[in-house]
């Protein structure tokens, strides 16, 4: 469903992604790990359609369509979801208005009628339960004044609302206490099916206890330098990245 080949991306002539290869198939869970600054968030936002980076080489297809040709909104409507490492606060845009617009733009794109107000509110109620998100939060402006954990929950809530095919969760676990982590992970697991896939970016094994990956990749200096099964995450937890850094220093 998602096929990334030799992807290079740069900003101000600084190459951040230096040839990424990644294939994600329906039903799979991929974990991407790697030291700070290695390019995990850059990869996610390039795939999501950020215009901050220039793609200089390589390709990315989503169900056979050229992802890199699409504006960010079409990538989302095609079923790609990016849970931000740092969700943006947007004072003055209410959560309800934001979500209604997003959901209905998805529906329009798929040739469906927009939800009526009551249909929409029903959907909201349902999905709020899934991530145990406080009703007060959805009555506020997007992420405004949300705590770190609340912001992350809100990302998963949005994911639940939009029902994507591939979700990239960028450090959705950081800043979460144990309970919140469980809630978020349960939310993700409930949304999982054999038709969709999840890419989790994390520094910690503990999330992977809940969301068990089929593949673990290590991203280092803009390249995936190692891929293996879930046991790799344990090894990284134990040994850190030094051994990898040594191996791939250049």
């Amino acid at each position: 469903m998602l096929e990334v080949k030799n992807l290079h991306a740069k900003i101000d002539d600084k190459e951040i992604l230096r040839g990424i290869n990644l294939t994600v198939k329906p039903g799979e869970v991929h974990a991407i790990m790697g030291p700070n600054g290695s390019g995990k968030s850059t990869l996610s936002s390039v795939l999501a359609g950020s215009e901050v980076f220039d793609v200089s080489e390589g390709s990315a297809t989503f169900y056979g369509k050229n992802l890199l040709d699409m504006p960010a909104e079409d990538r989302a409507r095609e079923g790609l979801f990016y849970s931000f490492q740092y969700p943006v606060e947007i004072p003055g845009v209410s959560m309800v208005n934001f979500m209604r617009t997003a959901v209905n733009e998805h529906r329009k794109y798929n040739g469906e009628k927009p939800y009526t107000a009551s249909e929409f509110l029903k959907l909201m109620r349902e999905k709020k339960k899934l991530v145990e998100i406080d009703s007060n939060l959805t009555n506020r402006s997007v992420n405004e004044g949300f705590s770190g954990g609340e912001k992350k929950k809100n990302e998963i809530f949005q994911m639940a609302m939009l029902q994507p095919k591939v979700s990239i969760l960028d450090e959705t676990d950081s800043g979460l206490d144990i309970d919140a982590l469980r809630i978020v992970a349960n939310g993700v697991n409930k949304l999982k099916s054999e038709n969709n896939a999840t890419v989790v970016i994390t520094h910690y094994q503990r999330l992977l206890d809940y969301i068990v990956p089929d593949f673990v990749h290590v991203l280092y200096k803009g390249r995936i330098v190692m891929s293996a099964g879930k046991e790799l995450a344990l090894e990284l937890e134990e040994k850190g990245y030094d051994w990898i850094k040594k191996q791939f220093e250049d």
Binding site: S45, A48, G49, S50, E51, V52, P71, A72, E73, R75, A76, R77, Y82, F84, P87, V88, I90, P91, G92, V93, N97, F98, T101, A102, E105, H106, Y109, S141, V142, Q158, L162
Partner: protein, 464 residues
Amino acid sequence: MSIAGAEIKVEEKYISLFKENQGRLNIMASDVVANAREGAIKIFEDKGIPNRKVESYKYTNLNPQFEKDYTCDFEHEVFNQNLTEVFNCNVEDLEAITIYLINGWYYRKNQLPDSLPEGVLIGSFAEFSKSHPELFETHYNKYAKNEEDSLVAMNTAFAQDGFFIYVPKGVVVEKPIQIVNIMKAEESFMAFSRNLVVIEENAQAKIMVCEHTLSENRFLVNAVTEAFVDKNSVFDIYNIQNQHNLTTSISSVFVKQKEHSSVLTHNLTLHTGVTRNNIYVHMDDEHCESRIYGLYVSDKTQHVDNFSFVDHAMPNCYSEELFKGVLDDSATAAFAGKIMVRPNAQKTNAFQKNDNLLLTDNAKINTKPMLEIYADDVKCSHGATVGQLDEKSMFYLRSRGISKEEARVLLMYAFAYEAVEKIRVEAVREQIRGLVEQVFRGELNKCNSCVLCGQVSDNEFTCM
């Protein structure tokens, strides 16, 4: 009557216009109004049309607008007006008391509801100046600062009609009073409406002035509104402009308030050619509260200049200013906020903010606080910001499937939101929310339609 704009100084054109028409100007007006003319035209003659050397007009040169030739209507056939010929409007949504002015003249067939509270007067400035001379002697031309602004003096010299509102002691007018001023003429046209509002002790009224242009010619509107707000009273004035690009609109509001009164002014410029808004608030007693707001949304080559003067003449008063602007294309704007804290005005609280969103590199804003503080125990703050649409927010919205255009609308609205929410009459706020959103969606480009009743454009006029 048209005036030839030959080689004479632009002011002289208007001085001779005044002299030639002095008789006509007084046909409808009472002595109080007539007697103010001589002094006012003298001030205008001395000072002339403000040029860029006049500090408060530094960013708005109106000379080119005044150099053009305009027709005037000093002998309006007020009793033969037929509004349905110019305008048909079914005000549906807004629960309001609605009256109309045509080219600044009070429409004589206005129908006021029977349910108007006892003693409340709403009507023609000219007529009430004759029937209620005592009110006019007390209040007329007492608050307008002719010396400070020669264009205000010009209005005083030419003043004939407009609206008059009087709310007696203890009376609360629940519904907003909506005044729709319709400009319609065959040729370039100039009008000087003059309005007076008197709110007595413990009384309340909210008014909404809606400015429209219904024909495709050039307009110059130089309007002055004076308001006296007595003890414990509440007064709101919302000025909503939706005029086409050939319009020059100069609107001056002068408020004098007494102790424990609360005043709110809001200038919402949704579409215009060149706009200059003056807001003068004089807090003449202790414990006054004034809120001075504005929102301007401009594109193409529109220009909006807001000038405010908050006079803290007495201790223990509170003032709060917020002006927000969204400028697209080559639109330009200016804001100058003068706050005067007089020597004995201790315990003054005065806050001012002007925030701008520039959507292009060609849009420009000049913003300037002007604080003069002569008391020591005061809390004053001011701030101005100029920014662009936030790229991170754009990406966040788009990454959820929201189109670029829609994301822009959401973010522009989010920016304007704070100013819209300051409207404290819920029905008006609802209405304005919708209008502002329409402006951002580019759906308000039918400049000739009445923004407040959603009359559909007949395509006779286009937006320039």
